[in-house]
């Protein structure tokens, strides 16, 4: 996790630096805004990484950990099939087509997405998974 934190911290520092240098050298708003947004997102991610690192205790981070020592560790249940992902993607397509041409489809797509999110959550809980993912 320390590497994870270092990665985001250094990316955030780079993002801030390049945004500042760009603004000073270019006086151009669109690019400064884009780099600023990028730097802000990286600062946010780095802050989260610092917080997450405090509670992290991962076998993958221990240099001397042998594979056998971690036997039996609970990684959760990984589902092998679900009908909802393909339906979710199809609903997104319907939603976007509705946004352009047929308003009814926009609402139908949105309703389908919400329904699928609900069913995904239920399926995940049933199989002992973590959230809807």
């Amino acid at each position: 996790m320390k590497t994870f934190v270092a990665l985001f911290l250094s990316s955030a520092a780079f993002g801030i630096a390049i945004a500042v240098v760009y603004n000073i050298t270019s006086h151009e708003l669109a690019g400064t805004f884009l780099l600023g947004i990028m730097a802000s997102a990286l600062v946010f991610a780095a802050s989260y990484a610092i917080l997450a690192e405090r509670d992290a205790d991962l076998d993958g981070d221990r240099k001397d950990e042998r594979v056998g020592e971690a036997a039996g560790e609970d990684l959760g249940i990984f589902t092998t099939s679900s009908v909802w992902p393909i339906l979710m993607a199809f609903s997104v397509l319907i939603f976007l087509i509705g946004a352009v041409w047929v308003p009814f489809l926009l609402f139908a797509g949105l309703a389908a997405m919400l329904l699928i999110l609900w069913r995904l959550g239920a399926e995940s809980n049933r199989t002992g998974g973590r959230g809807i993912t």
């Binding site: 996790m1 990665l7 250094s10 993002g15 240098v21 993958g60 990984f78 009908v83 393909i86």
Partner: protein
């Protein structure tokens, strides 16, 4: 069939990604043949100018968004959990959703060819105002936007999934500094996707709002700004080039090390170079906009030159890995060497184009077309085939023919260079890109004739590749678990791997756990251990 449609296993998803991207590669390749046939000789009239515009728009879009970039994500889907010793991706359902967003989005883009007015015809970058409704009124442009929005959302979700998997699901002992270089490159790629794809989604949404919801983001007559479109597009577009190359640097590193029978030379430097490239690539976008006259040439020229340094570090390390190695010229290794040669040419012309005076002259000419085809075709595509020949036995459990594979390489290498090298000279002789025909001046007829002949040699090579794959499934020569003497964890499991990937894992104490396990077994057999 249902099993595949509802699959959430990362290996099945990876396979579906890769097969679907190869389908789109064939589609884009056929479109390229239409382009080259039209340009085979001066003043030809095989397709109309509007059809030609649709063809090169779909060719570029399909190659970039539907093949080169997503193939890397597909391979990452398959390999990353195996390389870090994880049973699956962190979020299997999200993973499947990303795949289907990509597939539905891809077909939506291509479906534009079937509607009245035809497909999008404003180029792969679809600059406003060319892509605005006043100029491109057809539904094809809308389908292009909707499709790419879905592809971009899918890519963002995949990047989140890959990062979470790599950070949280590594096997005991698999510290980040022991991860294979391919996995590291995927971390850098995912980070780039998370920074670059939201601007793409934004600019597509803004274009859709302009076209259908009364927006004026890019309409100067209403206070909009067309240069803003270019800023947003290239803020995504240049990092996208590295999203399309970093995973393939990873493939090359793995292949070169295994077939040089040496550990990777400069492991840490290779990782740092990947992140230096990723970081710098976020600051070079407007070198695509030098000719607008509205950007800081010195800043973007300097950052573009700088990016050659970490790229040079990678070349140095690949050569260092091969240096005094016991090099085996297998098909994957041949493709890796072909990659290095082609990418070097593309890289050098890239450095040339980073210089504004040269860019002003060569911009929008065939020199530029030659440059990016050497980077993405000669680079990424060669690396893709290196990866396909390298991991095919692991993925499908059967061997590809090495003899035919080498024929395929030489045919492809010849065809590629015959097609794209003459384009440098065409560009320098003044031939602009995206033109439907050209006059019989300078050496353009000869050079275009060569390029067209080369394109058909490439097509022949791709047919041979299809035959090699079919032959492998017909003959079904079983692949051993570790046919090449690999180093990384995917070679420690069966070919193909079981559900949840591993029955047992070797101990991990370096970045080459399978090599270590093999050495330990050898020492034990010799009674040394």
């Amino acid at each position: 069939m249902i099993q595949w449609l509802t699959a959430t296993d990362h290996k099945k998803i990876g396979i579906m990604y890769m097969i679907s991207t190869f389908f789109f590669f064939v589609v884009a390749g056929l479109l390229a043949l239409v382009i080259r046939t039209q340009l085979a000789a001066p003043n030809l009239d095989i397709v109309s100018s509007h059809t030609y515009s649709q063809v090169f728009t779909l060719h570029g879009t399909a190659m970039i968004f539907l093949f080169v970039a997503p193939f890397g994500l597909g391979l990452a889907n398959y390999l990353v959990p195996l390389q870090i010793g994880a049973p699956d991706m962190a979020f299997p359902r999200l993973n499947a959703t990303s795949l289907w967003l990509f597939i539905f989005g891809a077909f939506t883009v291509l479906s534009g060819a079937l509607v009245a007015g035809g497909a999008a015809a404003s180029g792969w970058s679809s600059y406003a105002p060319l892509s605005e409704i006043k100029v491109s009124a057809g539904a094809g442009q809308d389908l292009w936007i909707i499709g790419l929005l879905m592809v971009s959302i899918g890519s963002i979700l995949t990047a989140v999934n890959l990062m979470t998997t790599i950070f949280l699901l590594r096997a005991p002992g698999m510290t980040m500094w022991r991860m294979p270089i391919f996995t590291w490159e995927i971390v850098a790629t995912s980070l780039l996707i998370l920074m670059a794809f939201p601007p793409l989604a934004s600019v597509l949404a803004m274009l859709l709002i302009d076209r259908h919801l009364g927006g004026h983001f890019f309409d100067p007559s209403q206070g909009g700004n067309v240069v803003l479109y270019q800023h947003l597009w290239w803020f995504f577009g240049h990092p996208e080039v590295y999203i399309m190359i970093l995973p393939y640097f990873g493939i090359i590193t793995e292949v070169v090390a295994v077939f040089s029978r040496k550990p990777v030379f400069g492991y840490v430097e290779l990782v740092l170079a990947a992140f230096a490239i990723a970081g710098l690539s976020m600051g070079v976008w407007a070198h695509h906009m030098f000719t607008t006259g509205a950007v800081n040439d010195a800043f973007f020229s300097a950052t573009s030159f700088l990016i050659a340094v970490p790229t040079g570090v990678k070349f140095f390390n690949w050569i260092g890995t091969m240096w005094k190695g016991s090099i085996e010229l297998t098909t994957p290794m041949l493709f890796a060497l072909g990659f290095m040669l082609n990418f070097l040419i593309g890289g050098i012309t890239g450095v040339m184009l980073a210089s504004p005076p040269i860019d002003f002259d060569a911009h929008n000419s065939y020199f530029l077309v030659a440059h990016f085809h050497y980077v993405l075709g000669g680079g990424s595509l060669f690396a893709i085939f290196a990866g396909v020949f390298f991991w095919f036995p692991k993925v499908f459990g059967v061997q590809l023919s090495e003899r035919l594979g080498k024929w395929f390489f030489w045919l492809f290498f010849l065809g590629f260079n015959l097609t794209f090298f003459p384009m440098h000279i065409m560009g320098l002789e003044g031939m602009p890109r995206r033109v439907v025909t050209y006059p019989n001046v300078e050496h353009l007829a000869l050079l275009n004739g060569l390029a067209t002949a080369g394109a058909f040699v490439i097509a022949l090579a791709v047919v041979l590749f299809g035959f090699i794959v079919l032959l492998a499934f017909r003959k079904r020569v079983p692949a051993p678990d570790d046919p090449w003497g690999g180093y990384t964890l995917e070679w420690a499991t069966s070919s193909p791997p079981p559900e949840f990937n591993f029955h047992s894992l070797p101990n991990i104490s370096s970045e080459r756990p399978v090599f270590d396990a093999r050495q330990a077994a050898r020492r034990a057999a010799e009674g040394v251990a």
